[in-house]
C-alpha cells in the first residue's frame, strides 16, 4: 500500500504541474495582443526616444551623429525652452486648479438636488463638452474669442466696452486656452466626483446633523475627506492631461503670440516637424517624461498623508 501511494503521488504532481504550466501559458497567450501593442507603441518608442535624444541630425538623416548630452545642453541654455516650461506650469496650474475646484463645487451642488429635474438637465449640459472633440471645441472658441467677429467681443461692444483680442495678446492668450480646456474637461471630472459623493452613506450625514455640524464644517471635515481618493486620482489624471496639451494650442494660437502659449508638447512637435530637429525634440520629450513622473510621485506622496482610504 505504502509503496503504491509513494509511486502515485509524483504522477499526480506531474499532471498538476503540467496543467499549471499550460494554464500559465494560456494566460500569457491571452494577454499577448495587449502586450505586443504596449511594446510596439509605448515601451519601444520610450526607449527609442531616450536613445534618439543623444543623437543630432534631421528627420531624414540616414546616420545621425552621436552628440551625447548636447541636445539637453541646448535645451537648458534656450530661453525659449524656459518660457515653454513656465507656460506649461502656468497652464497646468490654472487648468487643474480651476477644474478641480469647479468640479467639486458643481458635483456637490448637483448631488444635493439629486432628485430634481433641473439636475438631469444641468448634468447633461455640463457633461456634453466632454464628448466633443478638442479640435471642434478649439475651432468654436477660436471664433467666439475672435477679436473682430467673435461673439464675446460682439457682446462686449454691445455693452459699451472696447473689443479685446483674447487670443492675440500675450497677457490673456494662455489664460484663454486654459479656460477652454476647463470648459471641455469639467463634465468628466464632475461625473467622477459625483460618483464618489454618492458613495457616502446618508447616515454619516445624519450623524453630522445630530452633532449640530455647520454646513461648511460638514463639507470640509466629512465630504472632502471621504472623496479624497477620487480627488487624488482625478487631479493626477488632470495634471498629466495638462502636461500633454497640444490640439487646442495648435489650433487656437500656434504657440503664439510671442511664444506665450507655447507648451511642452507643442514645442516638441515644432522641433521635430517644423525645425526638423528630432534629437532635441526627443530630449524635450524626456524632460516631459521626467516632469510627469516627478509630479505624479509628489502627488501620491502628499496623498499618503492627506487621502483617507477606508
Amino acid at each position: 500500500m505504502a509503496k503504491t501511494k509513494a509511486k502515485k503521488k509524483p504522477e499526480i504532481e506531474r499532471v498538476a504541474g503540467r496543467n499549471e504550466k499550460r494554464e500559465k501559458l494560456m494566460g500569457y497567450l491571452m494577454a499577448m495582443p495587449a502586450i505586443v501593442l504596449l511594446f510596439a507603441f509605448t515601451v519601444y518608442p520610450l526607449f527609442y526616444m531616450a536613445y534618439r535624444s543623444l543623437y543630432g541630425g534631421s528627420v531624414i538623416s540616414r546616420n545621425p551623429k552621436f552628440v551625447g548630452f548636447d541636445n539637453y545642453k541646448a535645451l537648458i541654455e534656450s530661453t525659449d525652452f524656459h518660457q515653454v516650461l513656465m507656460n506649461t506650469a502656468v497652464y497646468t496650474a490654472i487648468t487643474v486648479g480651476l477644474t478641480m475646484v469647479l468640479a467639486i463645487v458643481i458635483a456637490v451642488w448637483l448631488n444635493g438636488k439629486r432628485n430634481s429635474k433641473l439636475n438631469g438637465i444641468a448634468q447633461t449640459f455640463i457633461f456634453t463638452p466632454h464628448i466633443i472633440s478638442m479640435v471642434s471645441v478649439s475651432t468654436l472658441f477660436l471664433w467666439l474669442m475672435d477679436s473682430q467677429n467673435g461673439l464675446l467681443n460682439v457682446v462686449l461692444t454691445a455693452l459699451g466696452f472696447e473689443p479685446y483680442s483674447f487670443l492675440a495678446s500675450p497677457e490673456t492668450a494662455l489664460l484663454s486656452v486654459s479656460l477652454v480646456s476647463v470648459w471641455k474637461g469639467l463634465g468628466y471630472y464632475v461625473l467622477l466626483i459625483m460618483a464618489a459623493l454618492q458613495n457616502i452613506p446618508t447616515s454619516v450625514y445624519e450623524a453630522a446633523e445630530m452633532d449640530d455640524t455647520p454646513p461648511l464644517r460638514t463639507f470640509f471635515k466629512i465630504t472632502l475627506p471621504m472623496i479624497s481618493p477620487t480627488i487624488l486620482f482625478t487631479s493626477v489624471v488632470a495634471v498629466i492631461a495638462s502636461f500633454k496639451v497640444f490640439d487646442s494650442v495648435s489650433i487656437m494660437t500656434g504657440g503664439g503670440p510671442v511664444n506665450s502659449t507655447n507648451t511642452l508638447v507643442y514645442y516638441i512637435y515644432d522641433f521635430a516637424y517644423s525645425y526638423g530637429k528630432p534629437g532635441q525634440a526627443c530630449a524635450a520629450g524626456m524632460v516631459l517624461l521626467l516632469f510627469v513622473c516627478v509630479v505624479t510621485y509628489v502627488q501620491f506622496l502628499v496623498g499618503k498623508k492627506r487621502v483617507h482610504y477606508q
Binding site: 454619516v204 452633532d211 449640530d212 455640524t213 455647520p214 464644517r217 466629512i222 471621504m226 479624497s228 477606508q310
Partner: protein, 346 residues
C-alpha cells in the same frame, strides 16, 4: 432628563400615508422600546422625534416644548444608528469629540468628558484607531460613546444591536440596561426583536402598520394583551387561537406555556395526539393535533410522539377576543359556553 410627546402626528410621502394620527407619551427617564415588524413605522417615529424626518402634521414636544421646527442638532438628542454611522475618516477620539467641538465646549472639558466616557465603554486604548480597524463590537462602543459624551436629554437607538453576533448582543443588552440606570436619561429604543424589547424596556410601544397597538410594561404586555396581535407578538411559540367554535365570532386564546399535559379541574380538557416534539433542554415544545386544529404546548413534561392524551387549560389562563380581534372580558356567561363547547368543568 425629559419627556416626549407626539400629538396627532402624521407622516406621508406624497400620497402615501405611513403614519396617521399617532399619539404617544414617553415618560421622563424611561427606557421605552418601540417594537414591531419591519415597515410598522417604528423607525420613522424615532426619526421624527430626532428631526431627521419632517412631520406632515401634528406636534412633537420635548419637555413640553414644541420642537417641530427645531433642527435635529438643537433638540438635545443623541442617536445611535443601526450601522453606527461613524465618521470613517476620523479617529475614534475625533469621532467622539466632533459634536463637542460643534457645541463649542472648551478643550479641557472635552478631554475630561472623553476620558470618562471611554472608561465607561472601555475604549481608552483605542482612541487613536480608525473605525475601519475596529471590530463590530468596538464600533458599537464608539457610537455609544459619541452619543453619551454629549450628555443629551434623550438617547435614541435604532436597532443598535442588530449587526452584532448573538453572544455580543446578549452582553450589550445588559450593558445598555446598566447604562440607562447610571445615566437616568430617557432612552428610546427601536427594535423588531420581541426578546430585546421584553428584556430591556420598562415601557413597550407595540406598533403595526403605523399605529400603536398597545403601550405598557413588558409584564403587562405579556399577561394582559389587548388584542390577538399583541398576544401573538410576544412569546414563543405564539399564543394559540381557537377560532370558529364560539358564538359571535369570539376567539379563544391561551399561551403554549399554559397548556397542562393532563386534565385540569377548573378549565377545559381537550383530547389530542402529540404530532411533533422539540427538545429545547429545560423545556419541550409539542404540537398537538386536536379537533380544533394544531395546538402548541411548552412544558417540562417529557412524552413520546404519538401519545394520545387529554390536555387541560385553566379558565384563569384564557384570553377571549371579539370579532374585531380585540380583547373582551371573561364573563361567567362566556365561561359556561366555553365549558359546554370544549367539554370542561363548570
Amino acid at each position: 432628563m425629559s419627556s416626549i410627546s407626539l400629538k396627532n402626528v402624521k407622516k406621508a410621502y406624497g400620497d402615501d400615508v405611513v403614519i396617521e394620527n399617532l399619539n404617544l407619551e414617553i415618560k421622563d427617564g424611561s427606557f421605552t422600546v418601540l417594537v414591531g415588524p419591519s415597515g410598522c413605522g417604528k423607525s420613522t417615529t424615532l426619526r421624527m422625534i430626532t428631526g431627521l424626518e419632517t412631520i406632515t402634521d401634528g406636534d412633537i414636544l420635548i419637555d413640553g416644548k414644541r420642537v417641530n421646527d427645531v433642527a435635529p442638532g438643537k433638540r438635545d438628542i443623541s442617536m445611535v444608528f443601526q450601522n453606527y454611522a461613524l465618521y470613517p475618516t476620523m479617529t475614534v477620539k475625533d469621532n467622539i469629540e466632533f459634536g463637542l467641538i460643534n457645541k463649542k465646549i472648551p478643550k479641557e472639558e472635552r478631554e475630561k468628558r472623553i476620558r470618562e466616557v471611554c472608561e465607561i465603554v472601555g475604549l481608552t486604548e483605542y482612541l487613536d484607531r480608525m473605525p475601519a480597524n475596529l471590530s463590530g463590537g468596538q464600533r458599537q462602543r464608539v457610537a455609544l460613546a459619541r452619543a453619551m459624551v454629549k450628555e443629551p436629554k434623550v438617547f435614541m437607538m435604532d436597532e443598535p444591536l442588530s449587526n452584532l453576533d448573538a453572544k455580543l448582543r446578549g452582553a450589550m443588552r445588559v450593558e445598555l440596561i446598566n447604562m440607562h440606570k447610571r445615566m437616568g436619561t430617557t432612552f428610546v429604543y427601536v427594535t423588531h426583536d420581541q426578546v430585546e424589547a421584553m428584556s430591556m424596556a420598562d415601557d413597550i410601544v407595540l406598533m403595526d402598520k403605523g399605529k400603536i397597538i398597545q403601550q405598557s410594561s413588558p409584564a403587562e404586555l405579556y399577561h394582559n394583551p389587548n388584542c390577538i396581535y399583541t398576544a401573538q407578538f410576544v412569546g414563543s411559540p405564539q399564543t394559540n387561537i381557537i377560532d370558529g367554535h364560539l358564538p359571535n365570532e369570539i376567539k379563544l386564546g391561551f399561551r403554549p406555556e399554559k397548556v397542562r399535559m393532563h386534565e385540569v379541574e377548573n378549565g377545559i380538557n381537550i383530547p389530542a395526539k402529540i404530532a411533533t416534539r422539540e427538545m429545547l433542554g429545560a423545556e419541550i415544545i409539542y404540537s398537538l393535533e386536536t379537533a380544533y386544529g394544531t395546538i402548541m404546548a411548552k412544558t417540562d413534561v417529557d412524552m413520546p410522539v404519538d401519545t394520545e392524551l387529554k390536555f387541560g387549560v385553566e379558565y384563569d389562563n384564557m384570553y377571549l377576543f371579539g370579532a374585531d380581534t380585540y380583547r373582551i372580558p371573561f364573563t361567567a356567561e362566556l365561561k359556561d359556553i366555553i365549558a359546554v363547547v370544549f367539554g370542561g368543568n363548570k
